[in-house]
Structures are given as C-alpha cells and as structure tokens.
Amino acid sequence: MSSAQIEIQLIASLVAIACAIPGTFLVLRKMALITDAISHSILPGIVIGFFITHDLSSPLLILLAALSGVLTVVLVEFIQKTGLVKEDTAIGLVFPALFSIGVIMIAQNANDVHLDIDAVLLGELAFAPFDRLLISGTDMGPKSLWIIGTILLITIGLLFAFFKELKVSTFDAGLAAALGLSPVVMHYGLMTVASVTTVGAFDAVGAILVIAFMIAPAATAYLLTNDLKKMLLLACVFGVIAAIAGYWLAHRLDTSISGSMTSVLGIIFLTVYLFAPNRGYFSVLYRQRQQRIEVSLLTFLLHLGNHEEDENERHVKHLNEHINWQKVKAKSVLDLALKNNMITIDDSIVSLTEKGQHFTTEAIDYIVTNKNSEIEKMKDRFFLFRG
C-alpha cells in the first residue's frame, strides 16, 4: 500500500465515523430525509464561501455552507408550522430552491471560478492526498484529513458531553422539555453537526454520498441491537468497513471510489436486513411460520380436549375434515404434537396426553387472561407468545 492509499482509506474511515454519529440520531428521529435536503442546500453556502476564499477547504466556507444547511432546517420548519403543507412537502420545496440558487451562481461565474457541481456533489477521494496542508513549508498531510479529523473530534466531544440530553430529547421530547433539557437546543445542535459534517465530507465522498454514510450504517445497526450505545458503535463499524472495502472494490474494478463505498453500504444493509437474528427478513418469516403452526397445534389440541368423550371426533381421518385442514398441514401438526409428547395415537384414535392437556389449559389461559407471569416461561419454548 502506498501512503496515498493509506491516506485515502483513513480519510474515508473518518468521514464514515463522523457521519454515523449524527446519522444514528437522525434515523431515530425519523429525519433521514432532512440529510438529503441539507446535502443539496449547502451548495449556495459553498459557492459564496468559494467566491470569498477561493479555497474549498477554508473554515469560512465550511461555516457558510453549514449555515445554509441550518437555514434549510429553519425554512422547512417555518413552512411546516403554517400548517398548509406537511413536512415532506416542505422539504421538497426548500432544498431545490436553495440548491438552484447555488447552481445559478456557479453558472454565472463559470469563467472565473474553478468550481463545478460534479466536484461538490460527487467528490473525488482519489485527489484528496494531493491537496496537502503545509505549515511553514512542512508537509502535515492531506488537508481533508485535517478537516474531517477536526470535525470528528468535535462531534465525539459533543456526543460524550450531551449523550444523555440527546437520548432523552430523541426518545421523549416532551419529557426533555419538562425536565428543562431543552430539546430545541439539541435539535438545532444536531442539525448544525449534520450540516458541518456534510460540508466537511463533501470534499472526500461528495455531498450526495454523505447521505449514504449518515443513513445506511445507522439503519443497519438499528436492525441488530436494542441498545443506543451499541447502535452508535455498530454504525461506526459498518461505516468504516464500507469505506475500506469500498476503496478496494473501486481499486479492483478501476471505478468511482465513492460509488463503490456506497454500493458496499447497500450490500451490508441488504445482508443484515435479510439475515439479522431478530428483525431480519428470514427470521421474521420463520417466526411467523412457527407461530402459524403453533396456533394450529393449539386449535388441534383444543379440539381433542373438547371431544374427550367422542372417539369419532378424534379419528385421524376425521380430523382434517373437521378442522378443514389440508392433508399436509394436518400431518405436520400431528407430527409436532407427537414429537412433543402431547398426544398419543392408538388405533387411529388421537388422545391428549397429560402434558398436552396441561399445555392446552396453560396456553388458553394465557390468551384469555393475558397474564404475564405464566407466559414468561412459555416464551422460551414457543414463538406464539413472543408478540
């Protein structure tokens, strides 16, 4: 690995972490769409900043761009508060307006400035190592590494200081307000961090792909854990994996680095979505199937219990006619009951065992009374009661 390669991966990893932290809270606040808006509407800020400084990595430019990001949020909320349109419409109204102002400003001055929209929106990570930070002639490394590193340090500092406030205002803004932990300050603080991160990262991955780094790792982590701290940590890990794997994928295919990174993010999400242990697609499918079988089993056992006296009702052949089940289903239920020693079959007549009887009363009792104490034990054995 050349030092440029290491630098690129380092920059991308820092971007991934800096995005994952505000991204986690944005996902939990159901505000993913606002990052989309911010990523576009920082353009006028970038353009104005560039006219003034002629330097894409100047702090003034970052500040101006972040301001236009926060302005987006303010405008969206203002329009929303009129009650005339809903939030998504308000977002759709605001960011194209701001973005188009940026586009017009660039087009009007196209002859004078070296700033094109592609560079802002898509970024070019491969060039990042060429733009060095020189302090009195000494090479301090790539400029973007310093920019994103600074942003990341501030973000982590804020996260540690205000974790509790962020958590409570995200979960229950009403309580946060009543406790005096101003959720409004948290809201705009988070929006400012998201805007600054977007600006700081556009040099590396481009303003649009920042959205992917904010949302995808957080959404993936959300499927895997029930703990906010773990969710933050997992989001950072997924982001870094995508950054590094994406880089090598691009290297291998000789294609866009940021495009590859985003694709890897998509693949990671898809994999977790399909295979996550509790909320994953296959896991849910399996659970639903098990629940269906268990409901059938219960229906079947109940039927047996209700017809203890009448052997005709308990004849194997009769069962699928009476309960209206297909042969296959009837057999799988019968097998399940047999396997669990809940029934005995004697000369084609099915009878409940003591265990089967006990199970039936217990289960019916739960379904009727919805008492919790009894069922906690059964939850381990049967999916039916796991909600």
């Binding site: 009403g174 009543a178 919805n370």
Partner: protein, 245 residues
C-alpha cells in the same frame, strides 16, 4: 389539607395557529388532592398539562407552582406523557427509560451513576416491573409500558405529578395497580393531576375533579361537583351517569 395551593393558573389562554384551544383558564389545584381532568376530545386537557409544564407556550396568562414560575420549580414536578407520544421501538431498556427521570435533577452534561440507578431500580420495584428491567421497551405490553412511564415519574421524587391518560390501553389489573400507587402518593401528601377518560371511575379513583372544555366548566371536590349538570355542560349532550357515592 386544602389550604395550600400547589398549582395556581390565572387567565391562561393557549392557541395553535391563533385558534384558541384553552380560553382564559383560572384554576387552583390544592395541595394533596388526587385530581381528574375530564372533558371531551379536543377539550384541551393535554394542552393544559403541557402548558403548565412549559412544553407549550401560552399566549396569555400565568402558571405558578407553589407561588413561583415553573422554571424555578422543575424539581417539584414529575410528568407522565401519553404513552403514544414516544416511539417504543427506540433502542433502549426499561431501566434506561426509568433512569431518564433522574436527568432533570442531574442537570446538563452530568451523567447518571450508581445513585440514580438505585433510585430507578426502586421505582421499578414499586410498579412491580423489576423483573423486566433489561427488557427492550418494544417487548413490553401496553400496560407494562405505562408502568415504566409511571416508574420514571416516581424516580423524580416530586411533589406534584401530572399524568396524561395513564389508563389508556392498559388492562384492568394494571389500572388497579396504577391507581393504588397514585392513592399512595396522595396519602404521602403529594398532589396528583390526571387526564382521565373513564367517567364511571371518577368517584372511585379521585377526590377532586376539573371539568374542561376549552373553558373551565367547574373544579372542586368530586362529592360536590361531579353531577349530571356539570357533565352536561362539559360534554354538551344530556349526560346521565350513575354516580355512586
């Protein structure tokens, strides 16, 4: 018992987009009562609580908690919002939600420690949810979630409790358990204000009641003012509730 005033509301008017939802409310809540706020949908019951707690800014009027503005008295007040107002899929545990009740006394930046955890565990014990402390909150039943919210308010160890429909979507057992805790709070001299929907249970559960429908209709002891006259005034239709006294 009824000489001290816990909450004093004067000329309170609240509006959403210039449409008043609460209109010139004057209300004194005496210390030590267990009070129900009743009224039809859209009467402004939740809004009243939220404006007392400074969550919604009124356009006129004042709220005093023991003679001082709410901002100076936060530590005396606990709040149980409507269960539906939060996202129960939020990645956190029952214990963690109860711990949030301690955030107010902690103030900014400081983190909860062992002392806060102990208080939260005690509150969980009181609502009989200790066994579920590490359970993810989406895995709890509606009644259990409500108990968690109650525990979160208990941990605040306040003097005045405001609860927004604590009996919504809970089973009869939980409802009894919650009301018993509320009655215990009153016994220890706390003031409890509850937005309540089930008129049948008002005489059994509460000793004080406020009728509200955008304007205040009446307020006072249940035995004096919980009658068909006030119910009709509040709900608009001819109301007949068999009140067992």
């Amino acid at each position: 018992m009824e000489n001290k005033i816990a909450v004093q509301i004067d000329d309170l008017t609240v509006a959403y987009n210039y449409k008043p939802v609460l209109w010139d409310i004057d209300l004194s809540i005496p210390e030590g009562v267990l009070m129900a706020i009743v009224g039809p949908n859209g009467a402004g019951k939740s809004t009243l609580i939220k404006s007392i707690l400074d969550i919604i800014k009124p356009i006129a009027g004042s709220v005093k908690i023991y003679d001082k503005p709410y901002k100076k008295q936060r530590s005396l007040v606990a709040y149980v919002p409507q269960k539906g107002s939060v996202d129960w899929d939020f990645p956190t545990t029952a214990l963690d939600v109860v711990m949030m009740g301690t955030y107010g006394s902690l103030g900014w930046i400081k983190r909860p420690g062992q002392k806060q955890k102990k208080a939260a565990l005690e509150a969980l014990e009181k609502v009989r949810m200790l066994a579920f402390k590490n359970r993810q909150i989406s895995q709890l039943s509606g009644g259990q979630q409500q108990r968690i919210f109650l525990a979160r308010a208990l941990v605040q160890n306040a003097s005045i409790y405001f609860m927004d429909e604590p009996f919504q979507g809970v089973d009869a057992t939980t409802e009894k358990a919650i009301i018993n805790i509320l009655k215990e709070l009153r016994k220890s001299g706390k003031t409890v204000v509850v937005v309540h929907h089930d008129l049948q249970t008002v005489p059994e559960y509460f000793d004080w009641v406020t009728f509200l429908n955008v304007k205040k209709i009446a307020t006072g002891p249940v035995k004096d003012i919980f009658n068909d006259d006030n119910l009709t005034k509040t709900y608009g239709i001819n109301y007949k509730v068999s009140v067992q006294q």
